[in-house]
Amino acid sequence: MTFENIHSDTDCDCLSKAVIDTSNEYVRKLRKDKVEDKDFLTHWEREIRPETDDCETICSFKGVSINQLKPEFENQILEKYKTTFTINPKKGAHYLKFRLNEDTGKVKYSPEEDDKSHYNLFKADDFNLDKIVIVETVKFA
């Protein structure tokens, strides 16, 4: 597994403390009712750049925001998705439940005060949707 894309254009060591995790389930909100390549594009790949240049922010732009699905945080994740939906329904009403393979990439725990199960997924260079194990798509709103 190589991470040239993660290391390029920056001196930040985004992969420090990132691990391979094939056992836990994760979720990511989708734009539509089916997962598309675009759903797993990072801000960096889309050429969206942060206003600040600290490594934490840069690395968050190089990763895909996902949440680890643990029972104690399920409600918090759902609330986040629902809140987004109430403010802008165009942001989608479905989320994808999935697992990672050995060669998908690495995840790094990046909790926020109101998003305790938040992780950044740093995709391997050859990532595509076949590299994740889709569990199900869930409609939440």
Partner: protein, 425 residues
């Protein structure tokens, strides 16, 4: 993004819609979905994320200038984001580049927003984890306050009313043995800001209660202020009767108070419901003193809880609020103490500080019967048809004199509410 028809919209100057200070994200999900801040003119702005376009490398957001009232109502869950957009006449579509820098801003109206992008009716302010503190700021707005000035006497009454309110809440916590001290901080602009810090120390200097720091006293005070300003008037009936069916908001406050006692490992009052009801009635009187200052030299007052990172609005009072609040306090007093009206005219000393000589109505000071250090401010009406100019009734106004009159008083407990004055010159 084509559905927004940007080419047909009128372009605005960026500085009207650009957030330059107090930026705070209320909800984040890949992007700042909902955020607030102020523009360079000091107007409060709420913004939300609409769409990104990978072809043009642009992000489209919606920025709306808020009134102080809208800001307070939204932050306290009184109105939804959808309602704000519907009633606002200052909506703008803001086009940003992929570094979040504003490129252009367009004037729009609510009806031209594509339906699929409209917030839902449930778009209330997200319940974020709020950091509370014991630092407060009272901000006066409108009239003289907008020139960063205030009448010394009014500021002094607001300071005293709020200081007493804060200190009494701490003193009333039974079993805590706390010594509160409200400290004033330097005044600040904006438009005129009075800053307070509540310092709490323990009476027992030998170690004291080790668990006290865990008790969420700051959260309790913040929620208390919020309750008094947002929910007290609509909950009036709970306080005028023996009814112990608490509203949701009052239950919330009771839960926090319960937490204060439990975390400090102190036995709570036997009946927490009765305690909280009595304490709110007592504190409403202090709050009333603050409301009495609003209207003449400034139009509204906000109480903010100030933390290291931001300011949380707790209360917003304008003239309408003050009238409702004062009438609720009076109704509660009448229910507790009853109202009496004199049968005959009796002699009393008053100081008329406001008089409309055409309608013959106004307001006066009169010392309370049970405590002559405290004064009531009853409304007055002077009977008769003769002109009031150059009579004793205008002597307080022009000669700063207390005058003796004959009046029938309407009283709640020992407090004067109305004086029906017999004209005699």
């Amino acid at each position: 993004m084509r559905e927004f028809n940007l080419h047909t919209k009128q372009i605005l100057k960026n500085d009207q819609v650009e957030i330059v200070s107090n930026y705070s994200v209320l909800h984040f999900d890949d992007f700042p979905i909902l955020y607030i801040g102020t523009n360079k003119y000091g107007n409060k702005i709420i913004g939300s994320h609409l769409e990104e376009d990978d072809d043009t490398k642009t992000i489209l957001t919606l920025h709306t200038i808020l009134t102080n009232k809208e800001f307070h109502q939204f932050m306290n869950g009184k109105i939804s984001y959808l309602e704000i957009l519907k009633q606002s006449s200052s909506l703008s579509l803001v086009q940003k580049d992929f570094k979040f820098k504003i490129q252009k801003a367009f004037d729009i109206n609510f009806n031209s927003l594509p339906v699929e992008y409209l917030p839902t009716t449930e778009s209330y302010c997200p319940a974020t984890v709020k950091a509370h503190s014991l630092t407060f700021s009272i901000s006066l707005k409108g009239k003289l306050a907008d020139l960063n000035k205030a009448i010394a006497d009014e500021v002094s009454k607001i300071q005293n009313g709020f200081t007493e309110f804060l200190e009494d809440r701490i003193k009333s916590l039974k079993g805590f043995n706390l010594v509160p001290k409200a400290l004033l901080q330097p005044y600040a602009e904006g438009s005129f800001k009075i800053n307070f810090e509540l310092d709490i120390s323990q009476k027992d200097k030998k170690g004291g209660n080790l668990f006290l720091p865990q008790a969420p006293i700051d959260k309790y005070i913040a929620n208390y202020i919020s309750y008094i300003s947002e929910n007290f008037t609509e909950d009036k009936n709970i306080f005028t009767s023996e009814n112990n069916e608490f509203s949701e908001k009052l239950k919330e406050l009771e839960t926090i108070l319960n937490e204060v006692y439990e975390k400090a490992l102190i036995n709570k009052p036997e009946n927490l419901k009765d305690f909280i009801k009595a304490d709110i009635i007592k504190s409403a009187g202090k709050f009333e003193k603050i409301t009495e200052q609003i209207g003449e030299h400034f139009e509204s007052l906000s109480i903010l809880n100030v933390s290291q990172t931001d300011e949380t609005p707790l209360a917003f009072m304008d003239i309408k609020f003050c009238k409702d609040f004062q009438s609720s306090v009076e109704d509660i007093e009448i229910s507790k103490k009853g109202m009496t009206i004199d049968d005959e005219f009796k002699e009393c000393k008053i100081y008329i500080y406001h008089l409309n000589t055409d309608t013959r109505t106004g307001n006066a000071f009169i010392r309370n019967i049970d405590n002559d250090e405290e004064m009531s401010k009853p409304k007055i009406k002077i009977n008769g048809d003769d002109g009031l100019e150059q009579t004793k009734y205008t002597e307080s106004l022009y000669l700063n004199k207390w005058i003796t009159v004959k009046a029938k008083a309407e009283k709640v407990g020992e407090k004067y509410k109305h004086l029906d004055i017999e004209y005699d010159n």
